[in-house]
Each structure stands twice: as structure tokens, then as C-alpha cells.
Symmetry: C2
């Protein structure tokens, strides 16, 4: 029931219907599924059996720490501290071995030290681009996010997989070019 | 973007806030996480690396077939046919190997022929009980679901794990007993 609160943590991204903000449960579901569907773009050494649980866990601490918008530079200065405190609280409610597993996956995602974490991060960064490009794009517009900022956000994707990177770039260019062909 | 439509498929279960119906993306997220958190209740032969993807996939066909309420006996007479048609449409959009994997997981969940599928089904049946018991219980009330019907729904959980079964039973009894101690 604590993790169920993910449904009430709202992100800045508007859902396709443009009527609701995406919540953390929805987001975490979609990125986990995307990682499965995009498996062919992961290096052969990426263990999907760790990527999927990592994506399910990666935003859980936000039930206490709240969502930090990807383009909120001020929020990012306190993000680590807020999330570490939230991790202490949330993961200690679980049986010790499960709590440790969740915490390790969360930290691995954040530090991006493994091939699994890098692939998971790439998927996590691409997903809002889909919603912005195919949906209303309202989140970028409302928050005055620039094309350059989105480029920076996905820069790390290029090292994960060039095809994925260029596909994401095309969506960004289409959106900012005002081209509504999608 | 097709699977993103899971966010718009509403179940009969009310979320904890009692303001929104749970959608399929939220539900699938929570059951996948529950399977991780409840791993100690799975038999040692259950491979969690198959349970988690199975739970992420198990309701996907509902983007076309719609949600069939667990206590809708009329809806259940057409469920298989509707969902098989939806599976043909949805899973054929994916690369062939991924589409096959998704379809196999979906069918395995439904036929309950493996230990993984039985554990996944147990979790899937327990999750709405949590929301009904800890939340408003509005979904059972609105749909005139009886205590006996909920018992029948979780009967299979007993063979998966007795501890889980009795815990679920306690929540059901508390709810129907009008005991609001939770």
C-alpha cells in the first residue's frame, strides 16, 4: 500500500489524452515494458532480468521525495539527499533481503555504473519524448523546455545505442520543428 | 504508444483515494512490484525472471478487448475470443521474437499451467483485495459483489501459498465484517 502511492505522484509529462499528468506507476510500467520491447537495442551483455526490476524500482522513492522534473536544475541540487532519506524509510519496510535488493537496484540506476543501468536510463529518458512528440507536447511547452535541453537530456543514449538515439532525435526535431506529421 | 493505451483502460477497482478507477497500467505496475515484494511466498521452483514480465504483459490485450470485471459472468463467456483477437492485433505490431514472447507469457498466465503462472495469478487476485480492504471498498459495494464470490476468486491462492491465502481471507473478512480497524 505504500508503493501504491506511486499512483498519486504526478510527473510533469502530460498523458496522450492531455487531460491527466502521468503518474509514477504509469511511467514505471511503461518504461519496464519499453525495455522489453526494445531489447534488440540493448548490448548483448545487458541482462534484461535486472533491467526490468530496476525500472520498476527506479522511481519508488518518489512516494516520499516527490518527482524532480528532469529540467528542474534547482530541484536537482537536493534530489540525492531527499531520495536517500526516502529510500531509508521505504525500503526498510520490506523484508531485509527484498529491501536490500530494491535499494541496490535504485542506486545502480542512479549511478549508471553498469550496462543494465545505462540501458534502463536510456529507456527512461526516451519515454517522455514519445509522449511529448506523439501527444500534445504540452509538458515541454508549459515548462519552457528548449530543444537544446532535451538534446542534453538524451546525450547519454548515444553511447547506449545510436539507432535509439537518432530515433529519439527525430522525434524531438519533429516536435520543435512544428511538424505535426506524427 | 499502443501499449500506452493501458493508461486509459479502466478497471472496476477504485484507487485508494476513491476518486479514480484504477487503470491497467497502474494495476500491472503494482502486481509486478507485489510479485517482487512477495517473492518469499513463491515456491522455490518459481522463476521470478518470468513472473515479472508475465505480470507486465498479462492484461495488455485489454487495450482492444477492454477489461472484463472478475465478477462479470456474462463478460467471461466472450473473454477468451475477444482477447485472442486483440492479441493477434497487438502482438503482431512487435518484432516477431518479442511479439511471440509477449503472446506466450499472456497465454501462459491465462492457462495457469506453470508454477510461474499460478504465482502470478495469485498476486493478480490478491491485489484488488488490498485496494478494497484498505481503501473505500467501493468497487465491491457498487457492483454488489458478495463475500462468497471473493472467496471463490481467491480459492486458487490456497494451493499457491497458504499464508498468502489466509492473509487475503483476513482482509476480506475484515471488510465484509464491517470492521474498519485497518
Amino acid at each position: 500500500m505504500e508503493i501504491d502511492k506511486m499512483k498519486t505522484v504526478l510527473r510533469r509529462t502530460l498523458n496522450y489524452n492531455a487531460l491527466t499528468f502521468e503518474n509514477d506507476a504509469e511511467h514505471s510500467y511503461i518504461v519496464a515494458v519499453m525495455s522489453m520491447a526494445l531489447k534488440e537495442y540493448a548490448n548483448s551483455d545487458v541482462d534484461m532480468n535486472r533491467v526490468i526490476p530496476m525500472l520498476l524500482v527506479h522511481d519508488m522513492v518518489e512516494v516520499y521525495a516527490g518527482d524532480t522534473f528532469a529540467y528542474d536544475t534547482k530541484g536537482y541540487t537536493t534530489k540525492s539527499a531527499r531520495e536517500a532519506k526516502a529510500a531509508d524509510k521505504l525500503f526498510s519496510m520490506l523484508p531485509e533481503d527484498i529491501g536490500s535488493q530494491f535499494r541496490d537496484l535504485f542506486e545502480e540506476f542512479d549511478t549508471m555504473t553498469t550496462a543494465e543501468a545505462r540501458f534502463a536510463n536510456a529507456v527512461d529518458r526516451i519515454q517522455p519524448i514519445l509522449l511529448n512528440a506523439y501527444g500534445s507536447g504540452g509538458a515541454w511547452h508549459m515548462n519552457q523546455v528548449t530543444q537544446e535541453q532535451v538534446y542534453q537530456r538524451i546525450a547519454m543514449v548515444k553511447d547506449v545505442n545510436e539507432e535509439l538515439y537518432f530515433a529519439a532525435q527525430e522525434l524531438i526535431d519533429t516536435y520543435f520543428g512544428g511538424n505535426n506529421e506524427l
